[in-house]
Symmetry: C2
Subunit: 349 residues, 2 copies
């Protein structure tokens, strides 16, 4: 963690404007005070907001552009016209080696498309994956792919497992994370051909992870696995379904506490205790999805994140860059490929 | 709803034994008093339990068997050895026309395999689907397939949509249910080829439903759609993820209310209001998954369901049988196929 990180920040992304992004940057900077920032966006809006945070201003350099990617822009439009936008320039700074990692709260589809086009996938990796943290009964788990791809082969899934394990080692600080493949049952015979093949390959794996077989949707939130591996379609649906369900329960709870004078009084008494529940489920405390598998790190912050949320995503970006996660992934994959090659040569059925 | 329903009940299925199953049957009977029951299972256990419910006993006939399917039995074992089990005989009674619908709280895999083998799919339907209700912010939505199949073609998805719409008309009492395909975005270009093809076919559809395009995981619980259509793999993961998330939130809420003397007092005040939240999310109030698409109706009750849960599933079974849902599905599918045939003849691009 000794290396000083230079972070390329898309100051224009997100629903709440540069003020919230910069406030989040200052929060993150106060935790890792050696971090330097390249701020991409409209100088006329960034400068006055930055004036509030003199220390951040000192460690920042504004790179002006008046172009920005809109929430409504399609990935193809972003690719054609977005290179000199705040998002495009932040990614380009990583490509050029000027920054160690880029963070944007802008349009996810556009960010994925531009990151993939500019940075390309790492040797040995066929597809990037979108990785994030999920709150569980035991803390947090890592889950991927959350939607970088629509379909995945068994090889993709194996690469996701290796990337996810490296991610869990860095972000959760685990030596041998437990890794599970998301399936519709835990028996070996369940699931698609891709899953069965991926399971077979991972059972032979000797990289720093414990492959624990299949897991199921209701076990994600139990925290049974440190890393849940799935294809981007299923992962995206599962993530959004979990978000929707948590929101539904919160909404019903709000209605319940408003339903009578007694429950309103009850809320006043229980308020403090309920706070920890809200904190644990607050998406701002789990914010930050990472595109792993590219020649460079790109972190997506949720568009609706508040300053705390932005600082969570920036903090994750700093951790991953400091820990040289991309190098770890490359080593693990090389090890793993060597073993699979060997197994094939020996003659796996 | 004039027809008297004869219901084949697997009295041995479920975690709580015949007593709970029969108590649930009595609850359902008290709501639709004309229902007759064929009770399959161990007479020595059923008889004493039935003695508690004289009216149910009067309207029931016990069909003794000392064989039962265990929770650990594989579908293949059930197929080989389970025909004269309480579950196998209940399904056979539907096949023989002795009963209008079968209900079991036993092993899901075994029930699906035996139902499919014994009843076969209806003409025009390639694959059966597992259908159930999901609690939403607006009430309940229908969702399918929840795991009868591992993979689905576009034709399967279209058939699921037609079946799900018929189900929503019966169970939710809607004339033109809003039907959505579960996807990872709502734009027409999103998703797998199967989804895009299914979307195209459904856009041309003129059956009693409103095809509303794509929907996403976080919109399921908002109740945006009356019917959410997806493949069995994604549906199973989404359902279990929603269950797991609701359980996590409930667990965290319990911890929050126990965290201090103040929150314990708060709970006492709010208890009554929180009851409605619990009721809305209690799986017993949404119990009952139906295998649709076979030549006969089979309803799965959750193994852990209490008597209320069993009565919910039996009530759904009675509604579906009374409404001749299988005939409605057959008619809708015929209509739909006619239109697609026409569209193809006219030359859809």
């Amino acid at each position: 963690m000794a290396r000083d990180i230079i972070l390329a920040l898309d100051a224009m992304g997100g629903d709440h404007g540069p003020e919230t992004v910069l406030q989040g940057a200052e929060l993150a900077r106060s935790r890792v005070p050696t971090t330097k920032f390249l701020l991409f966006g409209d100088e006329a809006r960034i400068k006055p907001a930055l004036a509030k945070w003199p220390k951040l201003a000192e460690q920042s350099e504004i790179r002006h552009t008046d172009k920005e990617i809109l929430g409504t822009d399609k990935p193809s439009q972003a690719l054609r016209r977005g290179r000199d936008s705040s998002m495009g320039l932040a990614i380009a700074a990583v490509k050029a080696g000027e920054a160690d990692v880029a963070v944007s709260a802008g349009n996810t589809g556009a960010l994925m498309a531009m990151a993939k086009f500019t940075l390309r996938t790492k040797p040995g990796i066929d597809r990037p994956a979108l990785v994030s943290m999920m709150p569980t009964a035991r803390g947090e788990s890592v889950m991927l792919d959350l939607g970088a791809n629509t379909e995945s082969t068994s090889e993709n899934l194996v690469q996701f497992a290796v990337m996810g394990a490296a991610f869990a080692r860095t972000v959760l600080g685990l030596e041998r994370p437990r890794v599970g493949l998301l399936n519709i049952g835990v028996e070996e015979l369940k699931g698609t051909e891709q899953l069965k093949e991926a399971g077979q390959l991972l059972r032979q794996a000797d990289v720093p992870m414990e492959f624990a077989g299949y897991t199921e949707g209701d076990r994600i939130t139990q925290g049974e696995m440190d890393v849940v591996v799935t294809d981007g379609f299923t992962g995206n649906v599962a993530l959004k379904t979990a978000e929707g369900t948590a929101k539904l329960v919160a909404e019903l709870m709000k209605r319940a506490f408003k339903s009578s004078i007694w429950s309103k009084i009850g809320y006043l008494f229980a308020r403090h205790g309920l706070r920890s529940l809200q904190d644990h489920l607050d998406p701002n405390n789990h914010n930050g999805a990472v595109f792993l598998g590219l020649n460079g790190l790109v972190v997506k912050s949720h568009g609706g994140a508040n300053a705390t949320g932005v600082s969570t995503a920036i903090g994750m970006a700093i951790d991953l860059a400091s820990d040289d996660i991309l190098d770890h992934i490359a080593e693990d994959l090389k090890d793993f490929e060597g073993q699979v090659g060997l197994a094939e040569a020996v003659g796996a059925q």
